[in-house]
Amino acid sequence: MKTTMDNVILKVSNLKTYFFTRRGIVKAVDGVEFELRRGECLCLVGESGCGKTVTALSILRLFDSPPGKIVEGQIRYDSLDLAECSSRQLRQIRGKDIAIVFQEAQSALNPVLTIGDQIIEQIKLHLPLDYSRARDRAITLLSEMGIPSAEGAMSYYPHQLSGGMKQRVLIAMSLSCNPQILIADEPTTAVDVTIKAQILDIFRELKTRRQMSTIFITHDLAVVAEIGDRAVVMYGGKDVETASVSEIISNPKHPYTSGLIECLPDISKTADRLTSIPGTTPNPLEMPQGCAFHPRCPKAMKICKQQEPPEIITSKEHKVSCHLYT
């Protein structure tokens, strides 16, 4: 087997991020493990509420800290453990080594500052450039992202831009300091189909031209198939299946993954109804016993109600947590 250890740029081990609220403890991320390799696009897949966004936020410790806390686990980047390092070290990494792009570009930009101000602010924070060089760099970035008349656009306010443009601005902003890792949280979810295609193009280009290592979060398997190299399927705060995208699509092992694939509408077939996975995502305050997926699993066995499934490595770097494979 090829050793890929030296190619790993980020390693998340047994990450547990809990939120201590008045109504109870929400175990948003409960033992997630994966590694990101240089130049690859790793997708975190799952329904809303499975913990993928919190995982992403945990990498840079961006969740609200009075209720949230990383109770266990490590996030190895470079020589640091991001789960434990000081705020100062973390701030040097944020926006410079690791950048994150949020969905809802509508609200992710500060409405009372021009987009020029916001991009330049980040550039000047991390790079030793004076104002006019920083400004030039920002303009270059914007035009690379396909924003027309980038120089004029610098003095626009966010509400003057269309949804797709705002998303591009966000991506441009995140790339402004040449990060090693880009985390994208559902960048295509809140936009319409044409913009979605454009954004996916941007990410494809990032991979080919810049060899950017990306963590791409989505609930849409179709997107995963288009741009992902490897995928981590998440459910109930845990990673349930990890494999290369081609493996996952052709040979899904976990029943949840198969369910997700079946949900994809296929235009070539005629059907009366769209398939969906029965049931709803579990209430994070009241997780089911044993395997979190068992209430909705078509292949659930008796042991699934009692014990949490162990992690099993099958062939070709394919990991799955399911009692079916013990």
Partner: protein
């Protein structure tokens, strides 16, 4: 597109302001004329003791003040007079009301200005801190204190402060000396208690508004983006969150200024003997000198109108979402 739209808006607002101004004048006029005692009666009561013939005096006064003319003419005269700066004649001090105003307004202005600065500055700081540290004991303490602050009757607070600091402790003097320059150390010392009195209610209000405006913005997505950029927390709060909170805050603060402050300043001046417009109105009440009372009311009201207008325009100009439609 931006500039001419702003100009149109200003013109629209000015017209509206003029309409409201006319409404204010009309209501004041109606009040004065409809009141049980005509302006002559009250002066008469004073003169009766000096042995002049009531009937003659009434006729003379009515002729002098044009009270024998039809109502609409009186109204027109009234408005015209106001335009020319003629606010009437003060019976009790024997000078034109406008002169009285000119010599006394500066003291009210000083009091209100210092109190507002004190309240706004401190209030915003505490409000920001309270919002950032939500749910901590400090937050609860400040919230509770600001509750007390808006409930405490400001004239009673003034008296209590005098009792504690002047009478019992002898720290501050309780009178204001107009012979000294405005910002002399002595006068400023005399203003400490009045500013605290007038400022406390405002302060508590500002703490609440700032805290609430900050809380509204603290959980928004752009704040997380700002942190994700690697900005230090104080920049995130101070530049990003506060600027968003500031906009609606300014509006609330300015409107509040009108409704609460002038009443509070009136009472504070009386308690501490500050020779401002509230004081002269108070003196006029006892001398039955109605033109002064009316004038002070009108001035206060028109100031509020002006402040409202300026706030509206400033807000429209500052909020990029409105300016660039």
């Amino acid at each position: 597109m931006g500039k001419s739209w702003l100009r149109d808006y200003i013109i629209k607002r000015l017209i509206y302001t003029v309409i409201i101004a006319l409404g204010i004048l009309t209501i004041t006029f109606i009040l004065v004329r409809v009141g049980p005692s005509s302006p002559a009666d009250k002066y008469l009561a004073n003169l009766a003791a000096r042995g002049q013939d009531p009937a003659q005096v009434t006729a003379a006064i009515e002729a002098r003040y044009g009270l024998d003319k039809p109502i609409l003419v009186q109204y027109a005269d009234y408005v015209a007079n106001l335009f020319r700066g003629n606010l009437g004649w003060s019976f009790s001090t024997s000078m034109p009301v406008i002169e009285l105003i000119k010599t006394h307004w500066i003291y009210s202005f000083q009091l209100i200005l210092l109190s507002s600065l004190f309240a706004a500055f401190l209030g915003m700081l505490i409000g920001i801190y309270s919002a950032v540290k939500q749910y901590t004991k400090t937050d609860y303490a400040f919230t509770f204190l600001s509750f007390i602050g808006i409930s405490i009757p400001n004239f009673w607070l003034g008296i209590m402060l005098i009792l504690v600091f002047s009478v019992k402790l002898g720290l501050f003097k309780t009178y204001y000396d107009t012979t000294l320059p405005l910002f002399s150390l002595d006068n400023l010392k005399a203003l400490v208690l009045p500013v605290i009195t007038l400022g406390t209610g405002m302060l508590a209000g500002y703490v609440r508004y700032t805290r609430s405006a900050m809380l509204d913005n603290l959980r928004k997505a752009f704040v997380t983006t700002a942190r994700a950029k690697g900005l230090p927390e104080r920049t995130v709060i101070g530049k990003h969150v506060f600027r968003n909170a500031l906009l609606p805050l300014i509006t609330i603060i300015m409107f509040d200024l009108g409704s609460i402050v002038f009443g509070g300043a009136y009472l504070t001046e009386i308690i501490f003997g500050i020779p401002g417009l509230g004081q002269i109105s108070f003196n006029a009440i006892f001398a039955n000198d109605y033109p002064v009372v009316v004038a002070v009311t009108l001035i206060g009201t028109f100031l509020v109108l002006l402040i409202n207008l300026m706030t509206d325009i400033t807000y429209t100009y500052l909020d990029p979402r409105i300016r660039y439609e």
